[in-house]
Amino acid sequence: MALLTRSATITTGETEKSRRSPANWLRSGGLSAIVFALPLVLTFLYFSWGPIVRGLVLSFQKNNLVTTPEWVGMANFSYVLTDPQLPQATINTLYFALLALVFGFPVPLFLAVFISELRKTGWLYNVISYLPAVVPPVVAILLWKYFYDPGSGVFNAILGWFGLGPYAWLNSPHLAMPAIVLEATWAGAGATSIIYLAALTGVRNELYEAAELDGAGIWRRVWHVTIPQIRGIILIMMLLQLIGTFQVFTEPFLFTGGGPDNATTTILLLIYRYAFINGDFGAATALSVLLALVLCLLSVVYHFLTRRWSTT
């Protein structure tokens, strides 16, 4: 091994000396580096960097794909910001994010902590609770849409056994959003719990032993040992969930199409309508840019707010 590293330093020393000559650059594989980089650079130019720049440009243009694009300054932004639907969509999106946090955050965490305590049967809980995540989201939504059916749905049938209901679920402006979040939580809990579970295997058992010797009960051990040990991943998952819920589309689109009475119209639904129903691509990108800005700001604020907590 010593010989190996020595020869390695010799070769790098040589290239250092003759780096400038183009012939050497070719011989040492400079060209093949470019060839290897081409797929990445091209796909990113076309499908990542390009569209991001183009989005910024588009938001200042009037573009409907028919007439030639023209610069309109801030007109798209002022149009989007004064759209009477925007406050409702913002409130709905925030409401969805809040509900998703309240329903969807504790369930997988509790599940993961509990499963990690089960030695022999833990995997079974794992497999079963991950099953909903395997169901393609569209299939799950179509299935749940029928569960929520006010006349002959499964939920009203079950609640009927206890003399409750019938409820209008997706047809009710008050229940529609919680109903959508319930399905989203059902679909997402298994995958999140697996990620927590993987993090929990890294918790050192000596800490539990020490806490127990200090007289900490089971709940205090969970609260003071388990949770702090995995707080890094908890914080990340929380932020990713927030960013995801702010961009929710499929669930409200397929469940209610934004109804009833716009009670489930989210920002992304609004962007979809601007672009693909009204054909106003300028307004759609302007709203996208605004949402992206808010999300970036949210990430930065979140990072600073939680930094102290995650490093101590």
């Binding site: 980089a37 990445l40 796909t43 076309y46 499908f47 169901v135 127990e212």
Partner: protein, 296 residues
């Protein structure tokens, strides 16, 4: 995990002797198990039941078991009338194509950034990293316009599978994960291969890729799951019903199909991922768990 690590968790052997824990724990365990089964298996069992019922039975008694008998013919009917087979085929083509393009781009890209390390490498790494922090919504509309008319070439990729395959490959997360894995390969091995006269291509195919099978597996799994679940993007770029994957086709077909056939179709759409999951559950759960570790 080793046997020693399994010896104790939060609850110790001493706790287990306390009556509250001794009897309380199994009760919670059973209750939770019932909860998990109802949530995880219940909807799927209901789907099986409804898929084999008449529409009237589903509407009249959503929780009754086949009052007018089991309708086995629903499944072949759904297969032929709803054309589930061809939509599943499209889904598979989309998933496999996305998988290949993603793996090709992220292994070659990570190889350059991690192993070849040209002077302009950090610039690309930085530009890739930057896109990770930008939410996807910002590029949705311009990406759609790019597909309608590719800059420079002027091609229209709408209604071709390339429209789904190619954008999938421009994922920063996969490239950075792959790069980080390549970074951990000892440099001595790479230098030794160089001294043996291996070209960059040979270095890539004979050393780096074989050594990175675990991470390639994880990226492949996550890509396939992602493309299987995708809805909005294929909805936008594949308006032709003949090319649509099952996720896009089902909501469209659902509006015009009989309820019982609709349920059979949903059942068929769930069957393959569930069976694949049950067969490969260990790899599946490990891969998904690893994705969390990577995010951290």
């Amino acid at each position: 995990m080793t046997a020693e690590a399994q010896e104790r968790g939060i609850i110790s052997a001493m706790d287990r002797r306390r009556p509250l824990v001794q009897y309380g724990l199994p009760v919670i365990q059973v209750l939770l198990f019932i909860g998990v089964v109802i949530a995880g298996v219940g909807p799927l069992l209901w789907l099986v039941k409804s898929g084999l019922s008449t529409s009237q039975d589903i509407i009249r008694g959503p929780m009754e078991l086949w009052p007018s008998g089991i309708q086995w013919h629903n499944v072949p009917d759904a297969w032929t009338q709803v054309q589930i087979g061809s939509y599943l085929g499209n889904t598979a083509i989309i998933a496999i194509g996305s998988l290949l393009s993603t793996l090709f781009v992220c292994t070659t890209g990570a190889f350059v950034l991690s192993v070849l390390r040209p002077r302009w490498g950090p610039l690309i790494t930085g530009a890739v990293l930057a896109t990770l922090f930008l939410p996807g919504v910002i590029s949705l509309v311009p990406l759609y316009l790019t597909i309608l008319k590719m800059p420079v070439f002027g091609w229209n990729l709408q209604n071709t599978f390339w429209a789904v395959w190619l954008p999938q490959a421009a994922g920063a997360f996969n490239i950075l994960v792959m790069k980080r894995y390549f970074d951990a390969i000892p440099r001595e091995l790479i230098e030794a291969a160089r001294i043996d006269g291996a070209s960059n291509l040979r270095l890539f195919t004979a050393l780096i890729v074989p050594m990175s099978k675990p991470i390639i597996g994880v990226v492949a799994l996550l890509t396939v799951i992602g493309s299987w679940k995708d809805y909005l993007w294929p909805l936008l770029v594949l308006p032709d019903p003949k090319l649509q994957p099952i996720s896009v086709a089902l909501p469209r077909v659902a509006k015009t199909t009989d309820l019982s056939l609709q349920m059979s179709a949903l059942f068929l759409a769930v069957l393959i991922p569930v069976v694949l999951f049950l067969i490969f559950q260990k790899q599946f759960l490990r891969g998904v768990g690893m994705s969390g570790g990577i995010k951290e």
